[in-house]
Amino acid sequence: MKEIKIITKNLSLFYGDKQALKNISLEIQDKKVTAFIGPSGCGKSTFLRVLNRMNDLIDNVKIEGEVSVDGVNIYDKNIDVVNLRKNIGMVFQKSNLFPKTIYENIVYGPKINGIKDKKTLDEIVEKTCIQSAIWNEVKDRLNDNALSLSGGQQQRLCIARALAVEPEIILMDEPASALDPISTAKIEELIHDLKQRYTIVIVTHNMQQAARVSDMTAFFYIGELIEFDRTTKIFTNPSIKQTEDYITGRFG
């Protein structure tokens, strides 16, 4: 039984005159990991940012088509973008922790949502740190500057921070691309754990990573969705030649 979380229909995106995404229609399943792969500049990150309307922050962006999350068109003009982003967490390529303490970083989201009770906040910190597998490393140093952590720890803390606002969907934009293999493995393990509870969409350059962590894989090329299928199918028996060429390393 498959439950659909996000649907896009004929989605096109323009940066000024340049079309970055062409007529993309796809369905993202609930509580599954969906990976977007493709060469640089193929629009996979842009498409990811469509899903939580992060592109709104860039000038000159025009979007056509429809994006529905849980049956609601999120590009409807009456949609509260701030509330939308609370429910769709995002983890970026480069860890972008605030220059504050570890504790302050995690409670930033809950606090702006109006949670003031110290005990509740403490619980959120512990819960999200355990979920993002960083609790043992930070529990004794919650009041240290977050930027004193290692790169891999920072990225897991970013995930903890995203979990703290209790989203249902987590978007990850190449979350491990700047990390060493051990930290990458930890992140991937974490993604495995998180998919029990969250719908995860991950953009990655690393095809092995996509093969390891995802259930579904979408291959993008120059703004178009070339193929979208089960990961096992994409990586063993793709139905389109371009996909096969890419995953076997013939280009890209």
Partner: protein
């Protein structure tokens, strides 16, 4: 040395790698280097010489007048009673050299001016960096910076003629020219300084942090107040401190708009006299080598020391913040 080596080294004369640099070229290079080095060091030497001169002349005042006389003077009244006064009357037959009214005058104009300018300047900086659309900002920022370049004598004149009358009708102050009018005039100079530097500080905050905040569902205002401003804290405070320094050192506006009466007061609607205005107004008419002359240099030292200490304190605060790196 083996035959082979000898042969190898003998080649050096006609090899294209072994060409000697011409003496002329070498001299030219070192002359150019020297020229720029002299110019670079010259600026520093001039400043040092100015300080030496200032302190040399200023400390003579201590020999002639004495440190305590710069704070208060004991006056013997007509009835023989002694009275401690804090007055600046250097040209009286019984000269009094208290700097207290001048220091108070400086603070009473500079502090309100800095407060007003912080309010408007930081707001303008936030608007430029975070809210204004890029095209509008491209036009607005140079305009604001241009404003800082208006000759202060023009601003002083405007405050003297128009500003003072306007506030006189509006607020009915005790004196038409007063500390308040002067601090408004000062604000015109300091707001652009603070606005421009605040914009720079905010602009230097990486976009990643804004994205992180919006991604967590923060509004624009929450992002500015909880992430951007705290992260730019040291830059913004540096801009305010620089503004304050400018307010203390500014001369023409306070000379023209503050009324120049050396009152001891905390009433912002009374005339005051600042240290800078005193030097500017009196230095031209003082007889060189007199006690009065040296005392003006002493004011210069005080002025210098105050700004120096202020900057030092600010620097320490900023450094402490930076070390903790938690805002």
């Amino acid at each position: 040395m083996s035959e082979q080596e000898k042969e190898f080294y003998s080649r050096s004369k006609d090899s294209k790698y072994g060409k000697r640099i011409k003496k002329f070229t070498r001299t030219k290079e070192s002359l150019i280097k020297f020229f720029f080095a002299v110019n670079g060091v010259m600026a520093l030497i001039f400043i040092i010489l100015i300080f030496i001169f200032l302190f040399k002349e200023g400390f003579k005042a201590l020999e002639h007048i004495g440190l305590l006389d710069f704070i208060s003077t004991n006056r013997i009244g007509t009835d023989g009673s002694s009275q401690t006064v804090y007055e600046w009357y250097p040209t009286s037959t019984e000269p009094r050299y208290s700097l207290i009214p001048l220091i108070l005058g400086t603070l009473l104009t500079a502090i309100p001016a800095t407060l007003i300018s912080t309010l408007f300047g930081v707001a303008a900086g936030i608007y430029l960096s975070e809210i204004a659309n890029p095209k509008w900002k491209e036009f607005l920022k140079p305009m604001i910076e241009l404003f800082a370049g208006i000759p202060t004598v023009v601003l002083g004149f405007i405050m003297l003629v128009i500003g003072a009358s306007f506030f006189n009708d509006l607020l009915h102050p005790d004196n038409r020219l007063n500390a308040f009018v002067a601090s408004i005039g000062l604000s015109f100079v300091i707001i652009p300084v603070i606005a421009s530097l605040t914009e720079d500080a905010l602009h230097s905050i990486p976009n990643d942090l804004r994205m992180a905040s919006y991604g967590l569902g923060a509004t624009k205002w929450q992002t500015i107040s909880k992430v951007i401003l705290p992260a730019a804290f040291s830059g913004v405070s540096a801009s305010i401190i620089l503004g304050f320094g400018r307010a203390i050192g500014e001369t023409m506006i306070v000379l023209m708009a503050s009324g120049n009466a050396a009152n001891i007061t905390t009433n912002i609607f009374l005339s005051v006299r600042t240290m800078t205005a005193t030097i500017a107004a009196e230095m031209g008419e003082v007889s060189q080598g007199s006690d009065h002359y040296y005392s003006l240099f002493f004011i210069g030292i005080v002025l210098f020391t105050i700004t120096f200490i202020l900057n030092l304190i600010a620097e320490l605060i900023i450094n402490k913040m930076r070390k903790k790196n938690t805002f």
